[in-house]
Symmetry: C2
Subunit: 207 residues, 2 copies
């Protein structure tokens, strides 16, 4: 019952293509022009059919407000871009221009938290956090400016490099510990800059 005709599918594809390309969604007249219709009503008819069949939605009276609602985009939530740094520059990660190695885009819901401007990513070097199952090459998502709690993993600026450590409080004093018996670093955290608190992780496995 919810099957599309060829014309309707073509129009749905046309809209979806524009949407995916990052371009504004076409207007009734743009659709009409593209398909050679001489009246925008023809396009409106097809959109009505697509709406009735649940493939698209729009807000009334609002220009270019079409949305394709495939089973995927229905589930889809807010997205967020998070910059990946090779190493974090000193201070705030707001100095975005420098050292940005790439960008990762995550679905907020699947991640379980909402990234802010203070969220950034870092490529892990070394196996100092292997005890927490954070491996060499993993991308870790961190939040700048968050207050670290006992047992949380944090990024700290040590010897000119950003390194991951576990944040611990012992006798009221904060310490940093590597999660690998090979590295016996236990460093008083007072003298250091905590750059971010671990919020998530992305790993790529080579094929």
């Amino acid at each position: 019952m919810n099957e599309l005709t060829e014309k309707q599918r073509n129009i749905l594809d046309f809209i979806q293509l524009a949407q995916q390309a990052g371009a504004p969604v076409p207007t009734l007249r743009e659709i009409a022009e593209h398909f050679g219709f001489k009246s925008s009503r023809a396009a409106a008819d097809h959109l009505d059919a697509l709406k009735r069949k649940g493939f698209i939605q729009s807000e009334i009276g609002k220009a270019r407000s079409l949305r394709v609602v495939s089973p995927f985009t229905q589930i889809r939530n807010q997205l967020a871009d998070i910059p990946i740094f090779g190493s974090i520059p000193a201070g705030s990660p707001d100095n975005r221009e420098q050292a940005v190695e790439g960008l990762t885009t995550v679905d907020v819901k699947s991640l379980g938290f909402t990234p802010t401007r203070n969220t950034f990513a870092l490529r892990v070097k070394g196996d100092s956090m292997i005890g927490k199952h954070i491996c060499d090459g993993d991308i870790v998502l961190l939040e700048f400016g968050a207050e670290p709690h006992h047992g949380q993993v944090v990024a700290a600026f040590v010897d000119g490099l950003s390194t991951l450590k576990t944040f611990l409080i012992k006798s009221g004093k904060p310490f940093l510990r590597a999660e690998n018996p090979k590295y016996r670093d236990i460093i008083p955290a007072e003298e250091l800059t905590i750059q971010g608190v671990l919020r998530g992780l992305i790993r790529r496995t080579d094929a």
Copy 2:
């Protein structure tokens, strides 16, 4: 010289967020309303500044035609939606309607491989792969139909559930092994369905 003021940055973020969410780009009046301006001219002034500094582009006279052209979107590549299953239904993951728990969107470049229609995700239950640093609650990205190689991690259908195991070949025969001494499962792989080969991993760390 191309630095943005805080106001301009906020407005750029507002536009980019809408764009990423798949929503139509805001109009002058929508921007003005969101930031509490009483005139759309205020928004237009900021957009003029952003255009002059090269952060956005627009087509004249066209509704909602803004595009963010920051270094971010320049780096940005193809995105891919990957469905997350609570447990994989038997057979091909193409039966997407069922058991889809959520959706994760990843940047292809940061992931290091290109997801296909055969790429899917699975939420890990249990710690049977802790030896490979795959933890309970992690989201693993898998590829259906790929030929598993010795030592790769695969998803297999065992006792009505999808479980992760390491794929091994011993004396020409394929075996599956759990990476946890607690689970001594060594199962001949011939009788089993390999549902997918591990390609990536996403972890969320509770705040």
